[in-house]
Subunit: 204 residues, 2 copies
């Protein structure tokens, strides 16, 4: 809503331009579909704005997100060859995080998730990207694999102008409190209710 | 959820494989953000599956969707040069629909929306694409610019294997009834509540 009117002008001493450029912490939660999908849709806008994108995929699945991963990496290649858009980096758990040399199969999920979060922290501290998708990151928080208070404090205190988008069900209340934008996706009707299974191109 | 269990197996005489490949009619509605964004995220999967994509953007705005449009068109170019993915076609109202030679400025919105829908019907009849995004199409339906019953009947009877995704608030009940997948996006918290305006890379 670029032309949108705001409900009130905050008394924060910032100009509209400064306020407009504030880094965003967004959360997509709820039990419906579209949480991650909308995050990757937002990444298209970030790409077009020339913001380096990174995805941390905190799920273990051979199929999920393969369409988004292939397409976003193609956009990264398009950037490399034409200069349009921005670079795209994609890390996923399950196959071992991209920055680790060794495969991750023998290690446990909790340790892997903690390693993923440690890398997010390093990247935020170095201001390495402008747009972060922490996909399904609510689960390691929920399961105690990473410390919610530490996550929230790190995100609140992140330097520079780095946008962070967290997806997943059951977002921690402290994360919701810290977020600027929270959207809940609710299932109204799903084809699995009618006995259909997922299909390529739609579900992955 | 490619590995998902369905709640019941329908008595429709189809194999799982046939049922899996049924064309999908999806609706993203509700007052929250992410309706269109999730639709464009789904388009990434369709692209990766090699399905020709078309977007009909039933909104008049110079900025909205420009990030998604640029990125999806770049994916279409990537397909043209590498063969990966699928072609992408993007039509928008407001600037005059892409297939019309004359500019649309002097005509009224209702006539333009009806022309857009007439083109969708022609494309569906010809099975010209595999993945259709009818962006903000709930509004011309709501405002009576296109006939809801005719839209629903056309979508129900579309030939072949064409997936259609409709976005926008206040989806007509008949459309929701006809849809296989309906997700409602609900706003929990939005930065405009705190007096921020939209910014490039996030909102467009």
């Amino acid at each position: 809503m670029p032309q949108g009117k705001v409900e009130r002008v905050p008394d924060d001493g910032l100009t509209t331009r400064e306020r407009r450029r504030q880094p965003l912490l967004a959360v997509h939660t709820g039990t419906g579909k579209g949480k991650s999908t909308a995050a990757f849709g937002m990444a298209l806008r970030a790409w077009n704005a020339g913001w380096p994108i990174v995805v941390f995929q905190f799920v273990k699945s051979p199929k999920w997100r393969v369409g988004e991963e292939t397409a976003l990496k193609a956009l990264g290649e398009h950037h490399a060859s034409t200069g349009t858009g921005a670079p795209v980096t994609w890390h996923k758990m399950g196959e071992g995080w991209s920055w680790l040399a060794r495969p991750g199969d023998e290690r446990d999920h909790a340790a892997e998730a903690a390693e993923g979060w440690a890398q997010v922290k390093r990247d935020l501290a170095e201001e390495r990207y402008r747009f972060y998708v922490l996909d399904e990151f609510t689960y390691p928080m929920k399961w105690g694999w990473v410390d919610v208070d530490e996550v929230v404090a790190t995100l609140r205190e992140r330097p520079g102008n780095q946008h962070v988008l967290v997806t997943g069900r059951d977002a921690a209340p402290a994360l919701v409190d810290a977020a600027d934008l929270v959207t809940e996706m609710t299932k109204v009707k799903h084809p699995m209710d009618a006995g259909r299974k997922g299909q390529q191109g739609i579900e992955w």
